[in-house]
Subunit: 246 residues, 6 copies
């Protein structure tokens, strides 16, 4: 059976070119400039000793995330949320998703009473910004943890990372399940699913939405197959990037 050819030349299961520039920021404890094709996200991890008041004395740490888009990351300029004076629902939702995804692979006891804030700022958007952000955030997070270990903020032998995490968007376009949707595909998808997967291949989040018609169980299964395969590729890339000296 022959596969389709997508607008940018990919086949159905293929991701766009993925690049990760580790340590892009001179200021942050960990950082990565990550691209899924034309989608480019700057992820920084800020490490601070101590935790919010509601965790003080519990011996456990905290990891949270904030997502934002530059006003001209998109094809038409958007108004800044700071100018509007309020953060929109979509921004909140994605920030919460990124935070949950990272917390799922962290051993908060091993982190100890330390806080890591991950900022994911979309410099350029072409679909899949949240999955790009999660995948890059993991690299920034891993480096911030190594920095903290080197500084003595966490114990030499502590293993705060229980696993790695990556994410990919998959969807059904014209009846065909596709991996890593670009913006033009995403806007035409009948079903859109963001899947967050650990390096071990288990699910952290599955968020499927019928944009057009409701979807059947078999379609759901096909999308999950695609997502697991692409996430496995991203895991390999993350490991390779982190294996290099910085």
């Amino acid at each position: 059976m022959t596969d389709i050819i997508r607008a940018d030349g990919r086949n159905s299961a293929q991701m766009r070119p993925v690049t990760i520039e580790r340590g892009w920021s001179a200021q942050a404890e960990g950082s990565a400039l990550i691209s899924f094709g034309n989608t480019r996200v700057l992820c920084t991890a800020s490490f601070t000793p101590g935790v919010p008041r509601w965790l003080a004395g519990t011996g456990t740490g905290w990891v949270t995330a904030e997502y934002s888009m530059l006003p001209r990351s998109t094809n038409e300029r958007m108004q800044r949320e700071a100018v509007k004076g309020r953060i929109g629902g979509r921004t909140h939702e994605i920030s919460r998703l990124i935070g949950r995804s990272l917390r799922a692979i962290i051993d908060m006891k091993a982190l100890g009473e330390n806080t890591i804030v991950i900022d994911c700022d979309v410099l350029q958007a072409d679909g899949g910004t949240r999955t790009t952000a999660i995948t890059g955030a993991y690299v920034a997070l891993a480096d911030a943890l190594e920095w903290a270990r080197a500084q003595g903020h966490i114990a030499k032998k502590a293993q705060p990372l229980r696993d790695s995490v990556a994410a990919v968007s998959v969807g059904i376009v014209d009846g065909v399940p596709l991996s890593d949707l670009a913006y033009v595909e995403d806007s035409r998808a009948e079903t859109d699913m963001n899947v967050v997967v650990t390096g071990s291949g288990d699910f952290v989040e599955v968020q499927g939405t019928a944009e057009g018609a409701p979807f059947k169980r078999a379609e759901l299964d096909a999308l999950l197959d695609l997502a697991l395969a692409s996430a496995a590729d991203l895991t390999v890339l993350q490991q390779a990037v982190l294996a290099e000296g910085q």
Copy 2:
């Protein structure tokens, strides 16, 4: 194999008692006071001829939703979002979910240039408020559409409802997949999944989150089975309620 007995006497696949008081509000074009056990949500549907500016002239309608919790719907009083001056991320996220779920079963062309706003106000919360809200919102929506037909706002033969929609939360607690989690179960769940299903049994939304450990493909499958079964029960109840004269 014997099933477990839950704290409130249910077995694993059983929902809490569900009641729907249709037409609770004397003001709204459609309304329902719905309970899933102690979770009680007042759903109203407000019909207005006309659409937001970005839809004017397109011949298509609009359906949107807003979710909110009364400050003392919960065990500890929460601060009102109006007092805080901003709507939290969770509220935005749930409002968006309810709106998408309803739009998935509406034929916007058949609705014509009319707008329906669904308000889901949680009067009492004991887990599953978003799924309770979606299930009740469908009843309020259906009644508002009949009202609009009677008033001549939509054509006699138009069929804006393509299907019905209901929702249920399922999750894994102590390794056992359970349907319709009460608050005490939800707070202990390893995995929590909200599933929105049409009357025909297709998916509108699948939102699974690993609260503790990541979940395996087999666990995901078991949860989806549970959710489809419970949603089918809700569909039957919705049909029965709507079949009565109001």
Copy 3:
């Protein structure tokens, strides 16, 4: 002299049917769902040990109130104040009125360093929402105090309630003083007065406003007579409701 017959069949001095469902909420320390005709308000009382910082160490407690209307409590849907991001003047004004009315009958020393927050959420509005709220709030407050006594938060013999409190709106419509204005009457009233009265028959608040023409001293006197009579009826009802086992 024959009295007038109002649109809903009442005579001039007659209130609408008043019902109080005590203990409506399973979560709050005290609660009441109260109706003045079609006006329905859910009042909850939330008890917390401790006081705001400015009262700490004074040995006196605090009682405050928040009033809000559900968006579709009214005939036309209103925008939520949480969505607008600010609380309107009318909401503030009514919240302050309810709080003052309750504080007037509380012995703050007998309450001790405890805080009670009363939430009055209007589920359906047909005139007189603030007076309905005050009347119901008293019942919720009384129950919260009994709960606190049972829990040992206030002393067995302490008498934090110095009196009871109820409220009624009166007004002049077509030259005739009427009690308990429904919305259609209120919107046509020349003068509108909200009167808050203790169980002993003294005034806590008198707020009279000329909506059309200024009003004369004799008219003011007639309205106060009506208000005192209706408030006395409400006092009897409150006592009856509180005398029942909950």
Copy 4:
């Protein structure tokens, strides 16, 4: 019977010295800098042809008011509401009171489709700021109307002013009814009442509040007597000020 002597030498029924500097502002269409003792309020009236959208085409005008206190008008500096980002309940409540009081004496048809905004900015506060503001606002309003007549915005023979309006605070301190409470009296008052009265001696607003113990009908009557007498004095002063060439 001998009357009491108050801290500043007044007897019970006596107001503080009242001065009105008409036309204080070179910018506004009408203005007055008014003092009730140390309470000083700058009132300006801004006239604009045209009305808000909801009145367009009705042939009627609109009058509204905004009240504010300079941060150091009080003994302890208050935070600016612009800095807090929200207007407090008290400010809203007083702005609404001033607006209603002025609208009560305006014939909106005679005003025609014109808008007048009254700003009352408290430069120095020593009790009675809202009643001082209403009394000064009337003078600013009257001058703005004359300006509008001279400019041809309202007809030569139109009589938009149906009456004048003035206001005074009265209260019971140590059991004695007093007129025009200064701050030290106001903060000790058992009952505090703001009364807005037309030049003809009818009531526009009566707002009585039990600050300590509830008040009796006889006390209410005594306070109203005091208020009417003081308001009559203010009416005479307003007329004298407006009779002078500006």
Copy 5:
């Protein structure tokens, strides 16, 4: 060479009449009502023992300023920033300028751990409000410091004032450098410069802006000459005002 005559009769280097009413407020620790022609600003200085948390224990004090315009200080009424719910960029910028200007002449060690907040409220605006405010703020500040010395909050021999400070706006209108621009001049200026100068004749701030065409070095020099001369006049006036018994 003959100088030009300006619309209000001044020559190019002449300021408008400047008056300073020291101690205008009965509430503030220092105050001045200052006029540059029709521009009138009420400046109050509020002294509080103690400093913000970030200065506690350092032995140094803090001086800050807030600037605001009454809504009808201008020819057309402006919306209040409290109503808008946010402070505009211009207001922030001017508040910051006033604060920096005053801090430049204060010895924070000699002030000790005390805070002074300067409020500059523009009652009437006709150009040069920020320079008028700075000049008046100095007088209010000086009086607040004397009050604090008299109260024992600062040491008898401490010299928190290292110098005085005054400010003037200068600009090029129709090619001619002018001092102290009135509003009609300011709105036509090609270049506008605000200059803050100490009593010793050194610069605290120089803010020059090309409103129309960029300006040359020689023009800059001419404007600075004008500004220094006018500032010297203001210094003399400030000293005279402060030399009088209050």
Copy 6:
């Protein structure tokens, strides 16, 4: 006379390495990623046909700017202004400065009824972010204008750019005037001056502030000399970058 050697090896008049990546963004009509040493700013220019309502029908265009810092552009993570819900004074002030600087070199008639919004997002901050932003914004602006000409939005022969513009911060550190202050120098500067200069060498803005002691006329002159020299270097670089094919 020998010059000093600065911490990073520069002499007093030397700027840090300046790089401009023109066309960094695939979305914007013009863009530049500019670095002054470790300070990195992404400047995008968004072109839209049409103007704000207050300019419609005047035949003139509009150019405005917004400045923002990523939360981890600095050494310590800052809270996002969108999270705070309000834009700080410093941000407003810099946005306004950038906008004015660009408008000073634009012929708004030649631009026609078109709007350009410049976004300057600081990705990494090490002093001089506002001057870096202005210098990069000019390149983005020039490209957006060429894009608009190519698209036919502005006339073939129109010359909306009257000149170029660049900016540099200069200051006095330990008594020595230095060009292009890095963060460690800026935080120690006695006087800090931002100077915006056209390609022709005239001033658009001169903003000098005494951070420590007031500064003398001679110091001001020395700083202006430095700024003009550095700005001339920036002008050469801008021209070179724009001369390349994109």
